[in-house]
């Protein structure tokens, strides 16, 4: 078939765990084992034992029997939790590392973006780095020359183009690095989480650029943890878990599986072993749960309903005044808010040792749609100690309704926004009244109507 861009057949990659831990061996080890190995093997043969070296070696399959086909012009997302094999897959497809078993066929020129700014050299100027980085990414000198002005304009670094990049702010550095990569024009583009950097505005710019790439009919393989970005950019998504292909289908379905199967973060988490629980010798976190008003643990929350964030912690050393609190991030990494337990019962009071359960309630009709990530923490102000902060402890999905009584009313499109409060609206109407009243009424109507 000529319209196939990527085809993999039982693609597998095995890593030696021992090798990973030791990183590199010393020459002496290898020499001695090389010298001794024949004797050992001979001994084993004599004793009739197995001789396969693999039997002794501890290995892990980072990727196992992954087969799929991607057609030209398709944009496919790859999701899965950390260690699921996403990056290994991209590394094999971009020929950085070889598969252990199986094969992949690539039809067309591949550009891979596993990191922005690969090969940037701090001592070189912006201009020099554009040429160097372009060449490393596979652009020809003439191609870079042709796109040079465009790249500089996209990165917004015109003034500093002849300054060594070590004097750039991290924002400028990232913009320049992404700009070069974004102007790569391969037939197949492999992207790994490069969008997980920079501020929100920059991320948006990157996403738009990626969208353009998709529209130009190129094949895109996009690895990400950012579920809205995956569903927005890719119609099809592949879910990997522990190196295996778990699901391959329309993005919204696969993302749904991923979120609901608890393959992402879960709605409740416990630390049964106190030694491994987050915390110190004063206080340790034992559990975090997301609950509805009637006490159910849940990972999907109706946007209209309040949701309780419950923290269970154990105070091991008496005498500290503790401030339980938590952060709430959305799935784009934006911190929506931080909330402190200000309840008068324990506020500023040293606590005796024992178990505590503190719950903070987020009101209904407040959060926006999407995934919310909870980071529980406990701190002391006097002296200032952060006992623990578990950034991505639990997560839940806020789901909007089409019943018409949430903030979206009867509007069915995408709303975005960090919060989605249900505001009180009023309209003054006076048919023969003063001009200002009429204007207020019109404006109010207008902004409501604009969402349709």
């Amino acid at each position: 078939m000529s319209d196939i861009a990527i085809r993999t057949e039982n693609l597998s990659k095995q890593y030696h765990i021992g090798g990973l831990q030791k990183k590199y061996e010393t020459l002496r080890d290898t020499l001695t084992s090389a010298f001794m190995a024949p004797f050992r093997r001979a001994g084993k043969l004599l004793r009739g034992q197995a001789t396969s070296a693999a039997e002794l070696d501890e290995t892990i399959w980072a990727l196992k029997d992954v087969s799929f086909e991607i057609k030209q012009g398709e944009a496919v997302g790859i999701i899965g939790r950390n260690g699921a094999g996403k990056s290994t897959l991209l590394k094999i497809l971009s020929r950085i590392t070889e598969p252990t078993v199986g094969y992949a066929e690539i039809h067309g020129r591949v550009g891979s973006l596993l990191e922005v700014g690969t090969g940037f050299h701090n001592e070189l100027t912006g201009r020099e780095n554009i040429y160097l980085n372009g060449a490393i990414l596979g652009m020809s000198g003439r191609e870079i020359e042709r796109k040079f002005d465009e790249i500089v304009a996209f990165a917004e670094v015109e003034k500093f183009i002849d300054t060594p990049v070590k004097f750039y702010s991290s924002g400028m550095y990232l913009r320049l690095a992404f700009a070069v990569a974004a102007h790569l024009e391969p037939e197949i583009l492999l992207v790994d989480e490069v969008l997980a950097v920079g501020d929100a505005a920059f991320q948006k710019k990157c996403l738009n650029k990626m969208e353009d790439v998709g529209q130009q009919g190129r094949t895109v393989l996009f690895v990400s943890h950012n579920m809205p970005a995956v569903t927005r950019l890719c119609e099809r998504t592949i879910l990997l878990d522990e190196g295996r292909l778990l699901q391959d289908g329309p993005s919204h379905q696969v993302v749904g599986t991923y979120l609901s199967a608890g393959l992402g973060t879960m709605a409740a988490r416990e630390w049964p072993d106190p030694a491994k629980a987050p915390g110190n010798d004063v206080v340790r976190l034992r559990a975090v749960r997301v609950r509805t008003e009637d006490g159910q643990i849940t990972d999907t929350v109706d946007i209209r309903q309040p949701v309780g964030i419950e923290m269970e912690y154990e105070v091991l050393k008496s005498g500290y005044a503790l401030w339980p609190h938590f952060t709430l991030h959305n799935d784009e990494g934006v911190r929506v808010f931080v909330s402190f337990d200000l309840n008068a019962d324990w506020r500023g009071r040293p606590r005796p040792a024992g178990r505590y359960v503190s719950t903070g309630w987020i009101p209904g009709n407040f959060l926006s749609e999407g995934m919310m990530i909870i980071g529980p923490a406990v701190r002391t102000e006097e002296p200032r100690i952060l006992h623990f902060y578990e950034r991505d402890a639990v997560a839940f999905q806020v789901v909007d309704t089409t019943d018409g009584d949430s903030a979206r009313g009867d509007y069915a499109g995408r709303m975005g926004g960090v919060v989605r409060p249900l505001l009180k609206w009023s309209t003054k109407f006076s048919p023969n009244g003063r001009e200002t009243d009429v204007m207020v009424a019109e404006m109010a109507n207008d902004s409501q109507g604009g969402a349709e």
Binding site: Y15, Y24, V101, Y103, H107, G108, E128, G138
Partner: protein
């Protein structure tokens, strides 16, 4: 007003992309010895050029003396040699003033030794590139060796200056110099390929290289003339490719010795074996670079 309404990208395949004949690459496990893929290396020549250019550009960044280091290194070695070997030990120098006798050998030697050192550390130094991007890995040690040519040119200018001072007129055999330099480069790269690939697995190499170059320096007739050796040992010393380079330099520039033809032939052969075997070893180890480095 409508800007936040979702637009789903419509994906259309432009005909121009379709009609192009696409290359098919098959990615599969390789076994045993693999081909050198010289054609691919040629296709990536532009990257090689940029890597050489980068290595030259950044070599003396943030140093006070900058490119002067290219001269200081061989020049002061020459001074030390002249004092200890030339003056105190009275080492013979084939009737040539000792300083220029040793410096003419130190110029190609420094190029060789630095190239070797840079190449053997090059893969580890470019670990981030190797784990994030695909390109023929051979370009990295090649760039490391070739970029030393700039240093060589600077040191060579000083050599010309010294010849002027000592009123030595080069022989017509200077025409052989480019080939002698190629011999030095091939030797440096050949050994560099072996060491760089080994260095990925065994960081011991990093500590061994200074020792190797030092040992090699004294195993090569730089501080002393090869005429101290009797035949057939003198010719056999050509098994060390740097003997061919050094003898060739003295012969072509200073006219000090008889034409070292057999030595150079032997040296070239050994250098070629080093280069080819190094390249194959490198390619064989290459598949593990990204996982181990």
């Amino acid at each position: 007003m409508h800007e936040y309404i979702e637009r789903r990208p419509t994906i259309t395949v432009s005909p121009s992309l379709r009609s192009e004949s696409v290359s098919v690459v098959r990615i599969e496990p390789s076994k045993g010895w693999v081909s050198l893929k010289l054609r691919e290396l040629w296709e990536y020549r532009e990257l090689l050029y940029f890597l050489i250019w980068r290595d030259i550009k950044v070599r003396y960044k943030q140093t006070v003396l900058g490119a002067a280091w290219a001269i200081i290194q061989p020049f002061f070695t020459m001074v030390v040699f002249s004092v200890f070997f030339g003056r105190l030990a009275k080492v013979p120098s084939d009737g040539i003033p000792y300083p220029i006798f040793s410096y003419a050998a130190l110029v190609p030697w420094t190029f060789f030794a630095n190239g070797l050192t840079q190449a053997s550390n090059s893969l580890v130094g470019n670990a981030r590139l190797i784990t994030k991007i695909y390109f023929p890995r051979l370009t990295i040690p090649i760039a490391a060796v070739v970029s030393g040519l700039v240093d060589l040119a600077l040191a060579f200018l000083v050599l010309l200056g010294m010849m002027f001072v000592y009123r030595i007129v080069p022989t017509v055999y200077v025409l052989w110099l480019p080939l002698l330099l190629l011999l030095a480069l091939v030797t440096s790269l050949g050994v560099g390929l072996w060491l760089s690939a080994m260095n990925v697995q065994f960081r011991d190499v990093h500590y061994t290289v200074p020792f190797i170059t030092q040992f090699w320096l004294f195993a090569t007739p730089i501080a002393y003339p090869s005429s101290l050796l009797s035949e057939p040992w003198r010719t056999l010393s050509g098994l060390n490719p740097m003997v061919g380079v050094v003898e060739g330099f003295r012969w072509a520039l200073l006219g000090s010795t008889t034409a070292p033809g057999p030595i150079i032939m032997l040296s070239s052969l050994v250098a070629l074996v080093l280069l080819v075997s190094g390249a194959f070893y490198f390619r064989r180890m290459e598949k593990t670079f990204a996982d181990v480095v």
